[in-house]
């Protein structure tokens, strides 16, 4: 199993254990740590696909890239 996935699963399980024992703040800290690791993995997965596309002589269209950036920018601004 990928070490990052193992870490995420372990942290989530430990968070759940703390939650069941009435320690929600500890659980929340562990969940945020797992989220941080997962976010790194998600970013890296996306960038690996970008690398693969470049190696294959292709890349996303600028319209597509801009649409995705704009959508996520709007999503962040609208909070």
């Amino acid at each position: 199993m990928d070490p990052k996935n193992l870490a995420i699963i372990s942290l989530r399980a430990l968070a759940q254990l703390f939650r069941s024992q009435g320690a929600p703040k500890r659980a929340e800290s562990l969940d945020l740590l797992a989220d941080g690791i997962k976010s790194g993995a998600d970013i890296d997965d996306h960038m690996q696909s970008v690398a693969d596309a470049l190696e294959a002589g292709a890349s996303a269209d600028w319209d597509d890239i801009h649409a995705r950036i704009t959508a996520e920018s709007d999503r962040l601004r609208d909070r």
Partner: protein
Amino acid sequence: MTNKLSLQLAGVALAALALVGLAGCAGTQAAYQAADTLPETAKVVSEHYYALLREANDLADAGAPDSFVARAQEIEREATPIVLSLREASEAYVAISTADNAEALQDALNEAVPLVSRFVDLIREL
């Protein structure tokens, strides 16, 4: 490729690699290393920014502190226009590969990379 352009590309690549750190980001490193030209680097930087924005949003949805969201919004306000400007500089260079257009694209990348780096740092600090 001219020597000057080669140096510029190497400079951007080094800055980008520093941006992602040298451990634990294999896919991100691979993307920056796969970019052989300034326009390809512009797309990689843009894609990296997109991925960071998406993750900042997902972390906010998952309950990240308000302070994280506020900092992400602050960085986004400054970074998005600059990252989006990479397209114009890149397309101008692709259309007419003059030294001036290369320099303009290089300047745009030099402006965008540190801002993307701030997003990397923000997510790492969480």
